[in-house]
Point group: C2
């Protein structure tokens, strides 16, 4: 066994469908070490979750584990419950799934139980952590871009409503398969092609027609193939952001990093609202630390 990391109190996992990120945190919430890999729940295959935890403990010390995300789904390790919105971190802590024999706790997901159905797993830690750390106000609209983008409405620091847009998944499906295969490998950034796509996507009731237009433009040599990915991304993100009924000047807190934060900020701006970017890793750490504090 390696020397335990000095000051380490627990290991937190943001363990999603395709990636996982591990954080070694102090009792005060300081990040002592962090690392990311591709071992999301769909890549686990026959691997054992307890053994994965032990592999981390062998490196960082015999620490308790707190895990959030799809690890707590039927496709993950064990199924954690869903807490019904409205929900805050105390509600999550109260419904935690404890796995005694592995010294692990899994954070519940959040579900809508009204007329509309929706679910989240993992995003609740980020969004509530952002509020807890003062990165977003207690009344806010938060956007969490990704494979399944979440739009979360916070009131008095609680998640009261949310909607999922599978924008990232649609882009990935189109890029890898079917008529667009090989056509969406160009760069995606906030340039002219992305702006063209947004103009087409915002408010569109005919999304699947807008998408085909991208192919037709390339086939007819009206748009270089290298621009197609940015154009399609613009259509999808434009349609996503454009359907939220954002008010003029309304503030959207975007929990993301890198390119996705840039693209969604551009779309929020194009819709007349105002984007404030929040570091999603920092938000997760704040949320999982507060959750852990509530267990102790």
């Amino acid at each position: 066994l390696a020397e335990p990391l000095a000051g380490a109190a627990f290991i937190a996992f943001d363990w999603g469908t395709t990636n996982r990120r591990a954080y070694i945190l102090s009792a005060g919430g300081e990040v002592l070490h962090t690392e990311r890999d591709e071992l999301g729940v769909l890549s686990m295959g026959d691997r054992s979750y307890p053994e994965e935890l032990d592999a981390h403990r062998a490196r960082f010390g015999p620490l308790p584990v707190v895990a959030a995300g799809m690890v707590g789904s039927t496709r993950g390790w064990r199924e954690a419950p869903y807490v019904s919105a409205p929900a805050d971190i105390a509600d999550l802590a109260a419904s935690r799934l404890v796995i005694e024999e592995a010294s692990a706790v899994i954070v519940p997901g959040v579900a809508l139980s009204g007329a509309r159905s929706d679910v989240m797993r993992g995003e609740e830690v980020q969004v509530l952590g952002a509020v807890d750390a003062g990165l977003a106000p207690r009344d806010a609209l938060v956007c969490q871009p990704g494979t399944h983008n979440k739009w979360v409405r916070l009131e008095q620091g609680r998640i009261v409503d949310f909607a999922t847009a599978m924008t990232g998944e649609l882009f990935a499906l189109l890029r890898a398969n079917g008529i667009f295969a090989g056509m969406l490998d160009g760069p995606v950034a906030d340039g002219a092609a992305f702006q063209d796509g947004m103009a087409r996507g915002i408010g569109a009731v005919d999304l699947s027609t807008a998408l085909f237009q991208a192919r037709a433009e390339v086939v007819l040599k009206r748009r270089p193939c290298i621009e197609a990915a940015a154009f399609v991304s613009g259509i999808l993100i434009g349609a996503d952001v454009g359907s939220r009924g954002l008010g003029r000047g309304e503030v959207v807190h975007i929990l993301a990093n890198g390119q996705l934060a840039e693209l969604y900020s551009a779309a929020v701006t194009a819709c007349g609202a105002r984007a404030i970017e929040v570091d999603s890793h920092q938000a997760f750490v704040a949320g999982i630390h507060r959750f852990w504090e509530m267990l102790n």
Copy 2:
């Protein structure tokens, strides 16, 4: 060589991306024999198109071939041109691609060359054939459900405008991959789940959110998994049909067969318009026969 089929004048292929259908036609346009297989252009691999033609000639006689569809694309045998709309069968015949050494002719596609870009290959024969055979009027709105559904506006018997919705492809991508994998294998028919989906999809500006809702309903056990495919199909077809701005009582001619015809008819009806189903095989035969007559 087999005995040539008595009265056969030519072999027509409706040769698409995933399927092909062959028709042995008389000079008068009578169907003497027809067959369908999965040897679409994406399944051809290293096979030779001329040898495929010869294999048919060995069975039916040394007949000329007329082929329409993706066989005339960059992913098919040889690239036939696109004719710009407005277009009729005479325009197609004038721009045909002749492959002398194989005694074959490929029908051109049709493109929009105005502000909006769109392309079709194969559907033009069906839709113009439907008009030629009196199955649809010379001024009509025609819907051609499939992987890439075409909405075609006819004026005075010519294709003047059209739009493609990749409704069928989106459904296939969702069913085979990602978060819906294994969840969309139930039956799709015009029942309660399909109607629920249509109600959600018609007029929706948030298609990718509507789709995720289907997953959330299953995860939260508010909808049996067996209904998910019909619900998702209803969302996609509802969004497609609902975005066409159909007038109350407006007639839509649906060129399709079987289940797709039924589902699109239901959606047209749900949007307050009137659906008239037209046999798409009959329409293709009428169109390809007229095309062939113009070559002779």
